[in-house]
Amino acid sequence: MMQRSEVAVNNSTIKRSWWLILLIIAFLIAPLVMSKFYLTILCEALVMSLFALSFNLLFGYMGQLSFGQAAFYGLGGYVVAMLITKLQFNFWLSLAAGAGMAGLVGLIVGYFCVRLRGIYFAVLTLAFGQLIFVIIFKWHKFTGGDDGIQGVFPPEYLRSIEAYYYLIFFVCAISAFILWRIVNSPFGQALKAMRENPERTEFLGIHIARYQLIAFVIAAAFAGLAGAVWVPFYRSVAPSYLTWIKSGEPVMAAILGGPNIFFGPVLGMFIMTFVHSYILGFTHFWPVIMGTIILIIIFVLPGGILEFAKVKITERREKAKIAKGQT
């Protein structure tokens, strides 16, 4: 008979947190040991990881494939760029405004999307994403059109790569922590329940559309924050940030790393960003290589890299238990 004191809820991610502490230390000392080139890539990987985590709240946890997440990422970036260059707005408030505006637009877009499931949800998010892209692309007077907006500078004290790296790291770490708390909260449990069995969940008293809309807004706001924090680092923003190709990146990252594990999309994004920058050094056929990697993952490790690792580790532990005779 199982003991009541045993925690029965699946909570595998941070049971032993030593590796997390090591990872945080590694990130903190990275600027001391890395070249400026790789530090820049690391900044991009971190921002894109936050973008992927926001996407995976919907995909991995809620079970809905959003194909328009880049619209919110780009919106966050545009809001910051416009506030800083046109209104000389406070930098920190601009970041908040970027996330807030993305969340607000997420509320409107989500209102329509959460009524749909599966491919229809995916297609409608794609359609809204393209709509927002076209508005920004065509509205030259207001957004700069295909020229984008240049000269988006952070405050003086954040202009070095190292200083801005720490900003990015803290924004991403705190956001990841918040998202991690959310997916393990009762709200997160409700999201997973909707993914597992929407019908059963509705018949437990959950208003599915309402919960999905809340998740949609949270995901949009964090995607917006990722875009908002990236643009002043890159000093510019362009409509390409909102394209459906950009929306596809977190999809691939999640599949690569494992959508059912919290840090899966982060691992996926790190692999994609670093392999990309490495491969660009000798070939422009990056999409071919990325496509091959995804193909291999789907056929060989269908749950993604971290899921595969988790299964292997669990098997090993079970074997060890049996070997010790405590079956």
């Binding site: 029965a8 699946n10 708390r181 009762p186 449990q189 329940a193 597992e196 059963r200 018949f203 437990l204």
Partner: protein, 246 residues
Amino acid sequence: MLLQTQSITKEFGKLRAVNQVSLDIHKGDIHAIIGPNGAGKSTYFNLITGYHPATFGKVLFKDKEITHLPAYTRCTLGITRSFQITSIYPKFTVYESVLMALLSHRKVTLKFFSSANKFFKEKVWNILEDVELANQANTLGDSISHGDKKRLELAITLGTEPELLLLDEPTCGMSPEETESTMALIQKLSTERGITILFTEHDMSVVFGIAKRISVLHQGTLIADGSPQAVRASEEVQKVYLGGTA
């Protein structure tokens, strides 16, 4: 009276699946709905729980009309159901599945930062012990036996602390032993927790063994309603359903 349907009717195109069924469900009863395949039993359940909108007629729960309320609202009022094809969370552990029902019923699902596992431990274990699934608390929903899945679904419905529990063929596909223990469990829930139970069932020995009241549907129409003895004695019931052998 806990639940009342007044001339409730459901049409799918030209087919009238449930035809003007007026029925009272009394508090504390174990009430069986029987009828041959296609008699409209499941559709009748779907009308009560809000799975299908009614074509016309009314559903009243505790004297309040609920005919047009969505399913999730009916659940929060105290009506919960199981499905004919077992509906559980395949990738949730047994414990998590019951926890989910409690989180929803006790309205904590809009908490964003507290850990889900700290809630309702005592209550979840109580339910798991009641349905004898405590020793499988950490097993995933899709890894337990068919009979246990049925009982898991029952445990999930108990998590919503219902006043009225609708069970659509609760022993379908079970072995005779499992059937017997499940029916004993349902009896226990009714007496100990005071839950009113409305269930459909194919197995007549099960129905007559446990039900206090039986209603018979035939081609969507209510043809008999009363005590097991009265229903057994009804000529019309014998003709259409019991084949004259009961």
